[in-house]
């Protein structure tokens, strides 16, 4: 199978795009599921299939529990934040997310059962930065955290929730963007 690094097109069914948007909007509204970490962070795993240089999204698996403040992840994230995060109005200790490993394992098990592969991860950006009002690209920290993942990082800009944007970057590298085609199920 071709490496995900060779992908040149991603098909995202509109229903999956709507799932991602609903996840983001729900978190922004402070409407949490049982057992879900509080906070305006929406992140998860995107799974699907690969056909040569084309990826087709088939599943959105939202992350629920954020273990960013639990050890050993806290030390790992604090270190990366201190080294790589661009200061913003959100304190470093409140930034970042780590999906609870049992949830990650569960997602991988779902993929195995449904004969899907993990294509990447998604997370939303909601705070405009000076010089970057849309926030639809990976931050330096995003790139560092996606290093060697061999996965796509899908960035969801929800700075303006009326005009959300999704873009995909291999291993979170700004120069390794692959176009996403949102496909209506009726087409």
């Amino acid at each position: 199978m071709t490496s995900l690094a060779q992908i040149n097109r991603i098909i995202l069914p509109d229903s999956n795009w709507q799932e991602i948007l609903a996840h983001g909007k729900r978190k922004l509204a402070g409407d949490y599921l049982p057992g879900e970490s509080k906070g305006k962070k929406a992140y998860g795993i995107i799974a699907g299939s690969q056909n040569e240089n084309l990826l087709e999204v088939a599943r959105v698996l939202p992350g629920k529990k954020n273990v960013r403040s639990e050890e050993p992840y806290k030390t790992y994230m604090d270190r990366n934040m201190a080294q790589h995060a661009v200061p913003s109005k959100t304190p470093l200790s409140k930034r970042g997310w780590v999906i609870d490993p049992p949830e990650v394992k569960e997602c991988y098990d779902i993929c195995d059962r449904e004969n899907l592969i993990v294509l990447g991860t998604y997370h939303m950006h909601i705070v405009p930065w000076e010089g970057d009002p849309i926030r639809d690209t990976p931050t330096h920290l995003d790139t560092v955290l996606a290093r060697n993942s061999c996965l796509f990082q899908f960035i969801i800009s929800m700075v303006d929730i009326t005009t959300p944007i999704i873009r995909a970057f291999y291993e979170g590298h700004g120069e390794k963007e692959v176009p996403i085609f949102i496909q209506s199920e009726n087409t």
């Binding site: 994230m77 490993p101 991988y108 098990d109 061999c150």
Partner: protein
């Protein structure tokens, strides 16, 4: 022989093998054997303290401190899970 499931991001270090059978009676033996057989794995899993290890779908350890304390049976399935994180 216990079977190790290799994370997606590490399969380029294992000739794209998804599952590897490894001889060993403890997690420590298995992991040391894995590093020896596929040295590239150790550099990708550059922070073993961040590695979560599941045996038969049960989380047994995050980090390296308990590897010698985890004994294994030959039918066990070991899954290595790397953290998924973002900023």
């Amino acid at each position: 022989m216990p079977k190790v499931i290799i994370p997606f991001s590490c399969r380029n270090c294992t000739d794209n093998q998804h599952e590897i059978n490894m001889a060993g009676e403890s997690l420590e033996e298995i992991m040391e054997g894995l590093w020896r057989r596929h040295p590239g794995l150790k550099s990708i899993l550059d922070d073993p303290a961040m590695l979560s290890i599941f045996v038969n779908s049960k989380l047994v350890t995050t980090g390296i401190e308990k590897w010698d304390a985890v004994s294994l049976n030959k039918e066990d399935e070991i899954a290595l899970i790397l953290p998924i994180a973002g900023g």
